[in-house]
Symmetry: C2
Subunit: 444 residues, 2 copies
């Protein structure tokens, strides 16, 4: 499907590009890939040995690291491949994540979309190439498993789940009045005045209803997504390179197409612009702000981190990496209306604004046949199902799924061979809904 | 003094090279550098702003990051510049580091070597371009200060203090019988059979009494240290590059000079070889082993990390980065004969072997006029003074100083403009000794 080796800058270009690819690659689900067991990165032994054997050595520069199945190792080891910036948890003791494991979850049955025979929850994990999954019910860990090279003390790429985390910071700043969602982007970032973003409002950026000439069609070598990835690649540029050399330089080149506010268009650059707006409004990068405002208050067990471009800009569109259990703490904070251990970390109004969702009519224009009736708000995907569930979604299967009615949070890190979530949604969506219904039904 | 921009591979070459430079650059102490206040990296605003202004932007590829005074920012931010591998602290609660701050330390006076007028302890911090310093007395924090961009939750390059940490792992494995110190290196790493290391014993590597043709003379563009740095640089190699592409490939090229076991010769490659021997003997990289055997048992507040080469090899000669408070925990463990919270983490025999020191006659041949009567053992510097103090030393002023008689541990991270510790030893050595005497004298 993808051919990272063909790209001019190698695999980082591919990585950055693939983060936004989810809607585009559903067709590739027909391709044949080795299954989860056959592609298990621990079994294949990537980067194991001193030195690893040549056929198990992955290098950032040549793109080998992001080809399937090697990618299954890399998503748990981005920092070994590229520069990153820390998101400190602070120095205190982690918060408790009490365990109350349930044996009835693994055998839970659901029917994948388009299928006629049911699948068990346990079987869904291999079907979605899960690296780690954790379910909280009423704040207690009822299910937690790790596969391949991800462990409970590891950190995994959140891919576009990053957008929802940055969107949460944005919603927080709006709720507090630090950001005026009605103001144009150029008010906060004058350098963007001549770009497509200049006259878009912060709200339109938060909800991705900007009108942008920004193609994420990876089959087209002239698609803007390649230039975006090249700009953000931290490796030295070729001598004859004349393009933008950072995310910020690239964002200034994005041209308008269509009108702002009319339709949902899922484009990674909106998140990068939000990151820039946040940086200007607060004097903090998204990495610093995430640490200061959220990660230090979560009781996180581990620091998180962002990948960065060559001038240290955290990749707000897809560069976050976290421990799975800390991602669960983040989801649980939202389920609790923004509170952690009785302290209001994220304003309740911000959480309510996410949960309430966005413009359904605008969402229809985004073209997601599997996501009927959904909306997008503050960089979160809102299902509007009867449990009021909302989710963060990243390529290759990353998820935060919050089911308020069932008091449930699911977090999943995965390395599905197909970037687009449309390839795993037929399993993921009914599985998560079924578990929510099951936990609600069996709650005491 | 150094001219990083002249090197073929830019600043990483310079960095790696400078890690072993400490003995060579004392002459440069005569050069004029801005003082600690004028070179304060927070005040200068490196990498601050979105984006940072061009004259405050530091890039890994062009070497700007390791020129003084920019280097003062970089030593606290290596992971933003290059790939790294995590050293997990585990997921538990940190151990207590009880505070009992003393006001009498800052005004303590001592006389720098070669000086006639005394200096206060507080004044010594600026004189040594200290970024952070912490003193433990009987396990309690009696002094703790941070400067510039280092905070208590930050991580700083340990430079060659890394060697002592890796040497501690080596001494541990010897004490446990996992490593036979009398065996030749080729027994553990057959690939090194034809190199100078092949017939050196593990003990000779641990004590750096190997006879190696390995110049760390930075004034000589043909010095082997440049090839070492080029091999370990994680950036893509130039097209016409034909040399070694990893630390391991480089180590195989090191040729003999003189005889093993006769004299102390401080050469970074010994530590890299030790790292390789450890990896082969345990099946763990030094990063993994440090986490599994020590960091998880320290009650560390933060993960640590190593910089890596292009195939993920942790730089055992100088790539460790830690929080200052965790480095203090490491030193305190050694002061307590290897125990943490009552658990024997490092075998007592290993700590005793470090403390006992090495061959003083061999040390004399290393040529350190300021370090009369010292020795080198398991990659630690042993003073043999009347307090039995021993230390880890890294370029630009990094230190762990353990004074058993005074029940004192000092850890310091610094960014002195001169790499060689001979430039700061005239202040550092009498300051640390004076504080040991003071704490012993005033102990109740």
């Amino acid at each position: 499907m993808f051919a990272p080796s063909r790209t001019r800058f190698g695999a980082q270009a591919f990585l950055a590009a693939s983060l936004a690819a989810w809607a585009l690659s559903a067709g590739a689900a027909d391709a044949t890939f080795p299954d989860a067991a056959a592609s298990d990165p621990a079994r294949l032994g990537w980067m194991t040995g001193s030195p690893p054997s040549p056929d198990r050595t992955l290098r950032f520069e040549d793109g080998s690291y992001f080809r399937f199945p090697a990618m299954r190792w890399s998503v748990s080891n981005f920092r070994q491949l590229m520069p990153t910036v820390n998101v400190s948890r602070g120095l205190g003791a982690p918060s408790a994540l009490p365990s109350a494991l349930r044996k009835d979850i693994g055998t839970l049955r659901f029917t994948p979309l388009g299928a006629t025979t049911p699948m068990t929850w346990d079987a869904s994990l291999a079907a979605t190439y899960t690296d780690g999954i954790l379910v909280l019910h009423r704040g207690r860990v009822v299910y937690e498993r790790y596969f391949g090279v991800l462990k409970n003390d590891g950190q995994h790429g959140a891919m576009s789940v990053t957008k929802s985390v940055v969107g949460t910071l944005g919603a927080m700043l709006v709720a507090e009045g630090t950001l005026d969602a009605g103001k144009p982007v150029a008010h906060y970032v004058p350098e963007l005045a001549q770009s497509a973003f200049g006259n878009a409002t912060v709200r339109q950026v938060l909800d991705m209803t900007t009108g942008l000439k920004f193609s994420e069609d990876y089959a087209d070598p002239k698609a803007e997504v390649w230039a975006h990835a090249q700009a953000g690649n931290p490796l030295p540029k070729p001598k004859d390179y004349t393009g933008p050399r950072s995310y910020y330089e690239f964002l200034q080149t994005v041209q308008p197409e269509g009108r702002h506010g009319e339709g949902f268009g899922y484009k990674t650059v909106n998140s990068d612009v939000l990151g820039w707006v946040i940086a200007r409004a607060t004097g903090r990068t998204v990495a610093q702000l995430l640490s200061e405002r959220i990660w230090r208050h979560l009781g996180a067990e581990q620091d998180a981190y962002f990948t960065v471009d060559s001038i240290g800009t955290p990749f707000a569109g897809g560069g976050l990496n976290t421990g799975l259990r800390d991602l669960a703490r983040f989801g649980e904070m939202l389920r609790n209306d923004g509170r952690v251990r009785g302290v209001q970390v994220v304003p309740r109004a911000a959480v309510e604004d996410i949960r309430r969702g966005g413009d359904k009519a605008a969402f229809v224009k985004g073209g997601y046949p599997l996501l009927q009736g959904w909306s997008y708000r503050n960089m979160w995907w809102v299902t509007h199902n009867d449990h009021g569930a909302y989710m963060a979604r990243g390529v290759h299967g990353q998820r935060i799924y919050i089911d308020p009615k069932a008091d449930m949070v699911i977090v999943r890190y995965a390395s599905h061979p197909v970037a687009g979530n449309a390839a795993n949604d037929p399993v993921t969506l009914p599985a998560f809904e079924a578990l929510g219904r099951h936990l609600l039904r069996t709650a005491r």
